[in-house]
Symmetry: C2
Subunit: 470 residues, 2 copies
């Protein structure tokens, strides 16, 4: 079903000719950036304001046309591209890009959904403040998308995920009404937590159009170090030790297995290759309110303590900001190195921190038993219990063939072990289309029924991003 000419005309009247695209090449909106999902939209609409978003929703509702909201189109689970039927309206938030307010005394910033994350970070920095949400796609992902998917990233250990950074939302409901919940309040116990219901709902309950986010004072100094650990048990022991000694100053704790760093060395030989023999390398970041000398001393004392304890056998502290950035760059190059090595099976899982060593040992063993020689690119936000536990084909084997033959088996083994350890099959990427079926298998039936009841209550016609999450 294509859209009727009358309906297209009503959209054009609402938004202006230039912002209702129904012809020409729309693949920038219809395909996700990894080219994993290639949908087809009935039209792409680009409203410029909350009122225009509401009008589009009301028009679509009258016609029974479903809507797929899209931010920066950087998602990893196919949540923001239309399906292949050519019947859905793709609603891009990219023209809602004002930073409406920055309140330095209240440590808050109110920005529209289409603001690029990096611009939000910059606006905070320009006021001498910190907006800590940080992830690989920050140059193109949008605040609305970050909230719709409850994005994580590298600073969750200290500052929480997108949900934890949000104090208020503005949302266009499935009825096309505007809920103005843009509060800059730290405390508000006047009824149900609508904010957190919309956050992480991936556009299936309504469309986030703006948000009020927490800001923080900028740290006086930041120091980075790498530590070599023999086992994951040692890395978990180091985490506990660093949390005790550094408290909230510990703003980063990333673990990387040997193979993930070997891949970086192989494909990006120009990058530093510190601690080349460590089975596990941990990147620690300390943010401090005093200054560089005090921060460096604190980090060195923590590492000395860890060396004495035996959970670390070697360590390096970055000597300069440039060195610190280089160490982070190594960490952030793992996904790229992995892509250079060939197709692979990605997992974004979490388990309690205490369960990580056993989970990895058991799952490694089971996978090797079924598929001898496969290679594990295992790295991630150990401080949050979140690993990107990715599976690469055995050396010399065709990756595409390996994926085609074994992806279901690999996923089954990994997800069963995740569930057996009380974990989550999607820690920070969301569900989208990719994990919709896995969710039905692995989520509690009571939770799924509660979710369906809520979806039915808020979007009875099922027009908001259908086929995602549920």
């Amino acid at each position: 079903m294509a859209l009727t000419p009358a309906f297209l005309a009503s959209l054009r009247e609402a938004l202006g000719e230039a912002h209702v695209l129904a012809d020409g090449d729309l693949t920038a909106y219809e395909h996700d950036w990894r080219k994993r999902w290639r949908g087809r939209a009935a039209a792409v609409v680009r409203p410029a304001s909350t009122a225009e978003v509401a009008q589009v929703v009301r028009l679509c509702r009258q016609q029974g046309v479903s809507i797929v909201p899209q931010g920066g189109n950087t998602g990893l689970v196919g949540g923001g591209v239309p399906d292949t039927t050519g019947t859905q309206v793709l609603l891009s938030l990219q023209r809602l890009r004002s930073i409406r307010q920055l309140d330095a005394q209240n440590l808050t910033l109110t920005a529209e959904a289409g603001c690029v994350l990096q611009h939000v970070q910059q606006a905070a920095a320009d006021a001498g403040l910190l907006f800590p949400l940080s992830l690989a796609a920050e140059g193109s992902c949008t605040l609305g998308g970050n909230l719709a998917t409850n994005a994580g990233g590298t600073q969750v250990l200290r500052f929480g995920n997108a949900r934890d950074l949000c104090l208020g939302l503005e949302v266009v409901t499935a009825q096309g009404e505007v809920w103005n919940g843009l509060s800059g309040l730290r405390k508000d116990n006047t009824g149900y937590d609508l904010r957190n219901l919309f956050i992480g709902s991936e556009g299936t309950l309504g469309i986030i159009t703006a948000a009020t986010m927490k800001l923080f004072p900028q740290p006086a100094a930041t120091q980075t170090a790498l530590a070599a650990c023999t086992t994951l048990d040692d890395a978990v022991a180091l985490l506990g030790l660093a949390q005790r000694r550094l408290g909230a100053g510990l703003t980063g704790f990333e673990a990387m297995n040997r193979f993930s760093l070997d891949l970086v060395a192989r494909h990006f030989a120009q990058l530093p290759q510190p601690l080349p023999d460590a089975p596990w390398t941990v990147l620690l970041e300390l943010s401090d309110t005093e200054g560089d000398a005090a921060a460096r001393l604190r980090l060195e004392q923590t590492l000395e303590d860890a060396l004495g304890h035996g959970c670390v056998h070697d360590a390096v502290v970055a000597e300069s900001l440039a060195q610190s950035q280089a160490l982070w760059h190594v960490r952030e190059s793992i996904p790229l190195a992995q892509a250079e090595e060939g197709l692979n099976i990605k997992h974004d899982i979490s388990v309690p921190v205490s369960a990580i060593p056993a989970f990895v040992q058991q799952t490694d063993a089971l996978l090797q038993q079924h598929l001898p020689g496969l290679r594990l690119v295992n790295f991630g936000h150990l401080g949050d219990g979140n690993l990107h536990y990715n599976v690469q084909a055995p050396a010399g084997e065709d990756p595409a063939h390996f994926l085609q033959a074994h992806e279901p088996l690999v996923n089954r083994i990994v997800y069963e072990q995740v569930m057996a350890n009380g974990g989550s099959i999607s820690a920070e990427h969301g569900v989208g289309q990719l994990k919709r079926h896995a969710l039905q298998q692995h989520k509690s039936p009571v939770a799924l029924q509660l979710m369906r009841s809520i979806k039915q209550a808020l979007d009875p016609d099922g027009l908001m991003n259908p086929g995602r999450v549920l």
Copy 2:
């Protein structure tokens, strides 16, 4: 409608004779501790397990009997006592009091709803860890009640409210099913945020039976100081300065106006009376990972900086743990001193921190204009924008008569100013019965409609704590 004998028998069969109370003096369950609400229950049931809670809900559902869940019965808004019809079943959670698990590596604790907050704090302390939720009623309030009302307290500035401390819930739904969402995960993006929907819903969507809560390393040292500020503007400037210098180490920031401390001096003459001329006194608490000497130095430097800046004109740092506790004791004695002075009109409001000085100035002036001579006991968690902005009758006037004559006018003036400043009429106490009508007046109609839709979806028969919140 009294309960039928057959129904009572079925409850007794499920829970045992001793735990279904239908006769005798039940006022300990039926009246709130302040004797503001005096209800009457058809029966008081005391299940001992999640399965028994679920069974009670299913039995009540079959008979169309409504349920009022109750924890420690320390609430301030009448959310946990039955209405006066004598038709409701009061479900006490007090026998669900196991601490099911403490995972020191994962920094989590799983406890049942009826656990007294102080016992949870103690269990954490016994493991060398900190559970930071802290409030005046901690000796008798329960974890389930803390979560049902999203309790706040004095540590919100650093650690957030009950919601922010919770990683997972176990809930008995209105259908009498058990949702086991007891996750110890920092990151889990598998669908809608059911946890936060139940938190703060005051028992109107389901019954929280257990929760997994975050723990933290204990600080190495804690230091407390009082600072004298001439104006609230100065106090807000001090907050910003302390946040910049102390970062997450700033774990307390309480402001008290002159009259609130004068009342403490009048009614509790044995307590210390520091900074007796300060128009505003601020209590600052620093928690530190290094030690007492370092913490003291940091706090003193912060205060010196503030003296130099001019936002503080005098300050004292506690010399010992005993002195520190005495300073906190002064702060915590304000509500008691107020009660000694006579009945008063309490408000638990929040506005953005940046709006606090203007809000207080405007509201003080409007109240004095309408009711000359009234006295303002104004104190609270300034760091969270949360004030207990309480109104006491003019000196010499009969408090009861003043309340009867002027409470609606006072509330209207205060709440209108709160709304005009983008604030909340219930920052940390919840809605319950007390603010149900005020909520209808002051909450956005779109938000109220969303809340009603959710209530209808999860509790279609309206049996879960009816007449509260909505």
